[in-house]
Amino acid sequence: MSKPSIKKGIDFIKAQIDAPVASFFSSCVHCGLCAEACLFYTESGDPKYTPINKVEPMRRIWEQEYTMLGKLKSALGLTKPVDEETFKKWETMVYDGCSLCGRCSVVCPVGNDISGMVRKIREGFAAAGYAPPDLIGATQRAVEIGSPMGVKLPAVKAQLRHLEEDTGLKVTLDEKGAEYMVLLSSMEIMNFPEYLEAIARIMKQAGKTWTIASTAFEATNSGIQIGVSDLAKVIVSRIVDAAEELGVKTVISPECGHAYTAVRWEGPNLIGRPYKFEVKHILEVLDEFTKAGLIRTEGMEESRLTYHDPCQIARKGGIVEEPRRLLNQIASNFVEMSDAGAMNWCCSGGGGVSANERAEEIKLTAFNRKKSQLDALKVDTLVTACANCRLTLEEGLEHNGMDIPVVGLTEMVAEHLVEEESVS
């Protein structure tokens, strides 16, 4: 990252302003309904977390730079400038108090994509040097080491060795011509190795070839969370280069919401061209395998369980039915949370919030929304499909003394695979 400055911050925000942003600010009537959709507001009661307020610096810049009336008002000294104070004051609203969950965008009566604008304004805050130190560190590690948590290839190799010892399943790195290239998130390598084993068993039963790229095993993209498109591009380019080099048909995004957004939707726009391969979320792949009869499951989970929709996968990714079809095949007591599906409440740790230690307090406050949803449901197990949600949920549950195990859907599916011997 080159030297940050306020001027650079303002220029970066200006560069983000396009026709959609202008239409959003032109249409806002200050009805305040976005606040009612935002867990940072509903749980804290602090009106500064009203979503449209989080992008106020961008509104000022838009008004002053891109409207005639705003220019006139500026000339008469009637507008509020965006200066160092503004960046200082808004930094925690932009990063700590927003998980980019997108609920505000879907409830806005005039159709403003507010969370999309928070994503955009972060470009300016990072350029001005007003971004959380933890996210800066994570992004630096992602660029320099290859993973935001500092996970290096030997750690992945060690996982693969364990996998082979435990299950006899061998995974070849950098296998050219494999059909699928599997991405992992650091959290899956460090905290949830069950994911890798699940993938290996599922792929084996489906009879599909797959590989992991030694240069691009990491799927997460902290460049997107912090809002530095240059670095986000560097991170996503590794995946694109590896996938095209290996000639895979499909890249599988892991159980990680923002990784999916980064590689599926933002990636092509960051590198400036469409991919030569497809990107699918693991849930889409599992759903396809099941529909095609490539994998078969047996037995049912009998415990009362519910599914937490990760925002980037459901509300912003369109994957809502797939996890439900999968769960209904392997769980006999699956119940839905209030507002399930596209309107689900965020776990409170998305958008870089969970990686930002400074945000711990507001994150745990915001978690109370999930707590009350779960209190009302009284489940034995919580299933999700995002390693970041999973960790945030585990921490939140622990903090509240709630004893509910959190399980990844992929590994739950793998546990119910029909034993190899019985498959012809």
Binding site: D18, P20, L69, V106
Partner: protein, 215 residues
């Protein structure tokens, strides 16, 4: 200026001027928006952006259950205000004649009742703005200005119809002048949303549509 002259001026040259400013101002605002353009999205679409955009223009008129449950009064009041304004503007027979529309219109007593309801709705909106912590936090002078210029034509229209306070001709002139104030200022306040909401919903709906997301 004599009262009659004022009315003639208000109905004639002033109205044409105000309408011209309204049309020109709105076109300018919409041009300011659209001319900024947007980059084409290079990600592989899961579904149609076009149908998503068109769908959202309409679907966003209905509230999400989750938010309605939290703020039913604010949302219902929004409907009353917008429908009320639409009815009194376009279904009052003298307005229809003036605008040269081919509408049957509603009886004056119905319009009278709707006017009262709409005025009450505006005051309810004002109270919410003054007393809700969120609305206090995000409200600007522009919000109160937009409120006032929307209220004035309703009040003056009501008073003219009922011959309250001032002589009918004078009040009618004030009514028309207040409409002209609204027309002149609308493009330069948040009232721009009367047209730009279509763009905002379209842009978000387009994005959602490509991703196969409901919006």
């Amino acid at each position: 200026m004599e009262v009659n002259e004022l009315l003639i001026w208000a109905r004639g040259p002033a109205f044409n001027m105000a309408l011209a400013i309204f049309v020109f101002g709105m076109l300018l605002r919409l041009f300011e928006i659209i001319s900024l353009g947007r980059k084409s999205d290079l990600s592989a679409a899961r579904d149609s952006g076009l149908s998503g955009g068109l769908r959202t223009i309409f679907s966003r008129s209905l509230p999400r259950k989750t938010v309605f449950a939290r703020e039913p009064l604010r949302i219902l009041n929004g409907y009353i205000l917008h429908i009320g304004l639409f009815v009194v503007i376009f279904f009052y027979r003298p307005h229809i004649e003036l605008l040269g529309l081919d509408l049957a219109g509603l009886s004056s007593s119905v319009i009278d009742a709707v006017t009262v309801i709409t005025i009450l709705s505006l005051f309810a909106a004002l109270l919410m703005r003054l007393y809700s912590p969120v609305l206090q936090h995000i409200s600007t002078v522009g919000d109160y200005l937009a409120w006032l210029i929307t209220l004035l034509p309703l009040i003056t229209g009501y008073m003219a119809y009922h011959h309250l306070m001032l002589d009918y001709t004078q009040m009618l002139a004030y009514h028309i002048l207040s409409v002209e104030l609204l027309l002149v200022l609308a493009p330069f306040t948040k009232l721009t949303h009367m047209f730009s909401f279509v763009l905002a919903r379209w842009y978000q709906g387009y994005l959602a549509g490509r991703r196969g997301v409901e919006s």
